[in-house]
């Protein structure tokens, strides 16, 4: 058979029907493949391959088999091995084929060797001579294939034999030979770096090779070298940059293009190298900014491969020393990825985001809605990658939501995240979920660490945690238990054994019954049974009958360990003295010096045993690694499990070490790095009492927790979307910086001013505020007499009161209105002096006529000087009788609504003992005032600071004035009035950035379309101004058709309004940490616009 025919037959397998000898064998290959395709069962496959292998065996040992036939046989053997059947008897023939065959046979022989043999295989030694011969061959093809196989599998010890030859090839005229030589050297570097140390200069020559292929293959070496020590190769940065520039500039031959993109995989390789070089090195990074920028720019073509390059480029930009402009561009690129409808690109975008959030968490905020969508994506991979991303941005504030998401999705929770656990019950509950779902997939350490955490705490401190665990486990055990993983059962039985006695209300018989029940289950492993029995042993005596029953039933068990334990159990329950001796209550004193072994040791020494040497000393002497034994010594659990109140696992470790290692024997509890430690609780404790000017902590946990716990559905059409928004705000809370809601840009530092705002609820700072005011009010009532100004002008007098109330902190003024800040601050300082129920009597010298003073605006002139400049409402008449007339006016102070009541004496006589009582259920009102007397025709002014903690649409006030016109004759005059929430709304002055950040941290939102005032030129501006006038809102920014507005409830809960012109309507979206506030504000906005 001629070569030609055979070549035709193999190359065009479909053609052949010939009956020649070689063809018969070739036919066998074809036949084999066909048969394999037609297989229907594994059994058939086995039979077929068995037959095939015996046929091959026969053929290879036949002396008549030619090399050409052998080549076909090798391919068939490859097939058999590929299907998982051992064809090792052909290995030697593969080597022979490489040795003796013609070029094609030789190539197949080498191929078979590289497929069949791994690096350590002894037969490879037989290949060395063949390789040496071929490397020196004049036939380039042979040199080529020898180099290929050297780069694939070559015995490490034989490298010196071929190294000079391979090195020679580096200067071979043919590019393919040089290229393969470089790759072979790379392989040598990987398996025996010492061997190639002297040829670093040659790598450098390869890098500057005129052939791009040779240069490209040298990059593998450089990537490796630079990964190992980036500092040694910084001087090459310029070269790599130049190469990348040339590639980008299309300087390579056109056949390096892939779909018109020049050498994409080469670009990726270069980008990886550059990112390693530029990492944490500003000057090196500066060299590459330009080319990275170009690379980002070039990748415009909409093809997968350009996105693959872009991804690498984005990673590089975020790895090297940052440059703002590039970061921005790279961030935009990520946007293109994650928003892409192509699912593969979306995936890569998420992966890129996962990478970059480690450098800049705020980028997650920009894509939060996409992330939320991906979290619910039907594609498992997308979901998984999203969780990976969330894992990277886990912090103390969003941990509950993120872990919940993770648990929903898969059974593995990176235990690390649990160090953020906010409270005991959540921790235990989550661990229950982790154990019951993840269970046996957990790492061995996880249950142990958990138990250690429970055991390590001080009794008083952590009893609560333990109690919670006991209660929770009893509940679990009362339910269906057969599906629970073994490790969870073990954890539960240990905890019940140790701590069930802490819970007074628990019936011990019940605990014993539940544990015994577990023993009866078939699914419970024998290891778990040991745990359960140990737990039963530890439960205090008194239930001897139950225990004896149990011991009796187990004494016939087939498991010797169980039998042994049952026996011990029986003894212990009968002999209380023994029990006390063995199970010492509350003590686990460990004899870390192992003195109890002294006798044993000295006996052993006397008998000729070698004295103990510490492990490091032994290591030096023997240079053998003895480590692994210490933990795997088989120790009879039964012998030690009841001697101590520790988990059996820990015990077996400690006793397994016996006298061998003094350090390790103290393993029990101390000195071990606490993986979970108390840290899990610390952040939470800090969060409850944050320093006043620390950012975020005070505001955010509350909103986040509310978000997690809140179930009540919102009566909004887009509930789903809203849910997502809400989820987003709970997931991305606490990411520190950044923002992104439509018109919001990135922000730099957190706004300290803003973070100081107290929460509407029980936060320490807000209670501080109210305390302060009530404080001052109590003082003021003590000092009322001082602050009454009889017949004098108020302007002259406040000095006394100021000195009395000098305690008001000035810092509160920082929350104030922005305009003419300075003057306001002064005013604040003044007004706060009289915050609370304080009275100032004014006797206007002008009003001297007989008529009662009319309700008119000139009454406001009577306001104390320090209140005059405050924005105020019109004066309205409250009530009047022949003697007195009452009017009121509302003054809008930042932290309170001041209700000013003007009490005018309409008579010509002095009215005495005027007392005003004001009550309001919904508001905090300061106590009433008493005046000794009100002179004829004079007007007294008293004002009340009203605080609104929870919004109400309208608030009604009632009050009475009692006075005496004649001694002993008291008149009372009732009055009433209403206030609206609008009176308590104050502008919230924030910048756009601050607004954006706050927006993300708020969870309660409401959306509604409002009327748009279209009568003027700019409808949005007009509408917002109308709202601003009616409601004292602060218009933060107006951009295009969107406007953002901020306000708050006095100095409490903020409410943010996002307004967008939507056709003829104004789409308003409100958010607040307070659940009801948006609704009230919306209501007032509607009213204001309707009345406009």
């Amino acid at each position: 058979m001629s070569d030609v025919v055979e070549k035709t037959l193999t190359a065009l397998p479909g053609l052949f029907e010939s009956q020649t000898g070689a063809a018969k064998i070739t036919n066998r290959l074809r036949q084999l493949i066909k048969s394999i395709t037609e297989l229907t069962s594994k059994h058939e496959e086995e039979n077929l391959i068995k037959r095939e292998l015996s046929a091959i065996k026969e053929q290879v040992s036949s002396p008549n088999t030619t090399m050409k036939q052998m080549r076909e046989i090798m391919v068939r053997a490859m097939y058999c091995e590929m299907l998982g059947y051992d064809a090792s008897f052909t290995y030697i023939h593969a080597i022979k084929l490489a040795q003796q065959g013609g070029v094609l046979e030789k190539r197949v022989g080498y191929l078979a060797v590289s497929l069949f043999l791994n690096e350590g295989h002894e037969l490879l030694l037989l290949l060395v001579n063949t390789v040496l011969k071929d490397l020196q061959s004049t036939n380039l093809i042979e040199v080529c294939m020898a180099l290929t196989v050297v780069a694939q599998v070559f015995p490490k010890d034989m490298i010196p034999a071929v190294l000079p030859l391979v090195e020679d090839k580096l200067s071979h005229p043919k590019e393919i030979i040089r290229r393969k030589a470089v790759l072979a050297l790379y392989k040598f570097y990987l398996i025996a770096p010492n061997q190639v140390q002297h040829i670093h200069a040659k790598f450098c020559k390869a890098l500057s090779d005129k052939d791009p292929g040779v240069m490209a293959s040298s990059l593998h070496i450089y990537l490796q070298l630079i990964r190992e020590s980036p500092d040694s190769y910084k001087d090459l940065t310029g070269s790599f940059v130049t190469i990348l520039k040339q590639v980008l500039g299309g300087k390579l031959p056109v056949d390096f293009n892939y779909h018109s993109v020049p050498a994409p995989w080469l670009q990726i390789q270069l980008l990886r190298i550059l990112s390693l070089l530029g990492k944490e090195d500003q000057s090196t990074s500066e060299l590459m900014y330009e080319v990275l920028d170009e690379s980002l720019r070039r990748a415009e073509m909409n093809h997968n491969i350009t996105y693959a390059i872009l991804y690498e480029c984005v990673k590089a930009v975020y790895t090297i020393h940052p440059k703002a402009e590039l970061l921005e561009k790279a961030a935009r690129c990520i946007g293109n990825f994650v928003l892409s409808p192509k699912i593969n690109l979306k995936y890569l975008g998420l992966k890129a985001l996962t990478y970059v959030v480690q450098h800049d968490a705020k980028l997650a905020l920009q894509h939060q809605m996409t992330i939320i969508e991906c979290l619910d994506h039907s594609d498992f991979t997308i979901k998984r990658e999203t969780l990976e991303l969330l894992f990277r941005i886990t912090n103390a504030q969003n941990v509950t939501v993120i872990v919940e998401k993770m648990l929903d999705f898969l059974c593995y929770v990176p235990i690390k995240t649990l160090t953020f656990a906010p409270d005991n019950s959540w921790f235990i509950q989550t661990m229950n979920d982790v154990f019951s779902i993840g269970g046996d997939l957990l790492q061995q350490d996880d249950p142990n660490n958990f138990l250690r955490l429970l055991a390590e705490g001080k009794p008083e401190e952590d009893d609560q945690l333990r109690l919670y665990a006991v209660e929770s486990y009893l509940t679990v055990l009362k339910g269906h238990t057969s599906h629970l993983p073994q490790c969870f059962l073990q954890v539960m039985s240990w905890v019940l054994g140790e701590y069930a006695h802490l819970q007074e209300s628990v019936d011990r018989r019940e605990v014993i019954r539940l544990l015994t029940q577990l023993l009866d289950q078939r699914s419970v492993s024998s290891e778990t049974r040991v745990w359960i029995l140990s737990a039963l042993t530890k439960i205090p005596e008194g239930q001897t009958d139950l225990i004896l029953d149990l011991a009796e039933s187990l004494s016939s068990s087939q498991d010797t360990v169980l039998r042994q334990q049952a026996q011990e159990l029986r003894h212990l329950s009968q002999d209380s003295q023994l029990r006390e001796w063995v199970l010492v209550e509350n003590s686990c004193a460990v004899d870390s010096s192992l003195s109890f072994l002294d006798g044993f040791v000295s006996e052993a020494l006397a008998a000729g045993a070698a004295p103990y040497k510490p492990p490091h000393q032994r290591q030096e002497e023997l240079s053998l690694n003895l480590e692994p034994y210490s933990f795997s010594l088989p120790v009879s659990l039964s012998s030690c499990s009841i001697t101590d109140r520790q988990s059996p696992t820990l015990l077996s470790v400690s006793s397994g070490l016996s006298g061998n290692s003094a350090e390790l024997s103290t393993l029990i509890l101390e000195g071990v790095k606490r993986v979970w430690g108390k840290d899990g609780y610390l952040p939470q404790k800090e969060a409850t009492a944050p320093p006043v000017d620390e950012p975020s902590a005070a505001v955010q946990p509350a909103s986040q927790q509310e978000a997690a716990e809140r179930i009540e559905p919102r009566p909004e059409p887009s509930t789903q979307n809203q849910d997502k928004q809400q989820l987003a705000s709970s997931l991305f809370v606490g990411l520190g910086v950044g923002s992104s809601v439509s018109l919001l840009g990135k922000s730099e530092a957190p706004p300290p001013r803003f973070r100081k705002k107290p929460r509407p609820h029980e936060s320490s700072s807000s209670s501080g505020t109210s305390k302060r005011s009530s404080d001052s009010s109590s003082r003021s009532s003590r000092n009322t007499t001082d602050s009454f100004l009889y017949g004098s002008f108020p302007e002259e007098e406040p000095a006394t009161s100021i000195s009395t109330f000098d305690h008001t902190p000035k810092s509160t003024t920082a929350n104030g209105l922005s305009q003419n800040k300075d003057t306001k601050e002064d005013r604040h300082a003044n007004t706060s002096q009289i915050l609370g129920g304080d009275m100032v009597i004014v006797r206007p010298s002008t009003i001297q006529d007989k008529h009662p003073p009319s309700v008119s605006s000139d009454l406001t002139a009577l306001l104390p000087a320090d209140l005059k400049d405050l924005p105020h409402s019109d004066v309205i008449s409250l009530t009047s009788d022949p003697s007195l007339s009452l009017s009121s006016c509302r003054l809008f102070r930042d932290e309170a609504l001041l209700l000013v009541i003007f009490i005018s004496n309409c008579t010509e006589t002095v009215i005495k003992d005027v007392a005003v009582q004001l009550t309001c259920e919904e508001l905090k009102v300061c106590t009433g005032n008493v005046m000794d007397c009100l002179e004829a025709r004079s007007t007294s002014v008293c004002h009340y600071a009203l605080l609104m903690d929870d919004p109400h649409t309208n608030v009604s006030l009632t009050g009475t004035v009692s006075y005496q016109t004649q001694p002993g004759h008291t008149n009372t005059l009732p009055f009433s009035g209403t206030l609206s929430t609008a009176d308590f709304i104050r502008p919230l002055v924030v910048t756009t950035e601050e607004y954006g950040k706050l927006w993300l941290s708020l969870s309660h939102d409401v959306k509604q379309n409002l009327k748009l005032l279209t009568d003027a030129g700019d409808p949005l501006r007009t509408t917002l101004n109308a709202l601003k006038d009616a409601l004292q809102l602060h218009v933060v920014d107006i951009i295009g058709s969107e406007g953002i507005v901020a306000c708050r409830l006095l100095s409490g809960a903020p409410c943010l309004l996002h307004c967008r012109v939507n056709g003829a309507a104004l789409a308003m979206w409100l958010r607040s940490p307070h659940p009801a506030l948006p609704d009230f504000i919306l209501y007032h906005c509607q009213r204001a616009l309707a009345h406009h």
């Binding site: 070549k7 193999t10 190359a11 065009l12 397998p13 479909g14 290959l29 297989l39 080549r71 490859m78 097939y79 590929m82 998982g84 051992d86 070029v103 094609l104 190539r107 197949v108 191929l111 590289s114 497929l115 791994n118 690096e119 036939n139 093809i141 080529c144 294939m145 290929t148 694939q152 393919i176 290229r179 392989k187 990987l190 292929g213 293959s217 593998h220 056949d255 390096f256 892939y258 050498a263 994409p264 990726i268 997968n304 491969i305 996105y307 693959a308 390059i309 991804y311 699912i343 593969n344 690109l345 979306k346 995936y347 890569l348 992966k351 594609d379 498992f380 991979t381 997308i382 998984r384």
Partner: protein, 140 residues
Amino acid sequence: MIKFLLMVNKQGQTRLSRYYEQVELGKRASLEADVVRGCLARRKEECSFVEFKDYKLVYRQYAALFIVVGITENENELSIYELVHNFVEVLDKYFSRVIMFSLDKVHIILDEMILNGHIVETNKTRILAPLLALDKMAES
């Protein structure tokens, strides 16, 4: 880094397998079965990457044939996805007909492209050069 490359048909039969990291012969079959199951379970609209044990799988379907590449986490999935296509384009350029009877030649082509789990050549002309030279020599 690339850990392995598989060509499997829809029935789950392996047509070609190349491991760049040692995997015991006995374990390959079950690994391949798992890989195929993982890929077949995916719907068209889902992305071409699946997490699989310690690897990521990148797969691409050509008629009844799946090409699956197992890669490490730090590898760029999309570039591997396109590498598979490049590989197929090379095969397409060389073979005029079915490739399944020429296991050896497919391997030879693959060896030019991927070495020790690294992408070493993507230029189609250069990938095919050694094989074409072999063919030429075998002819003469």
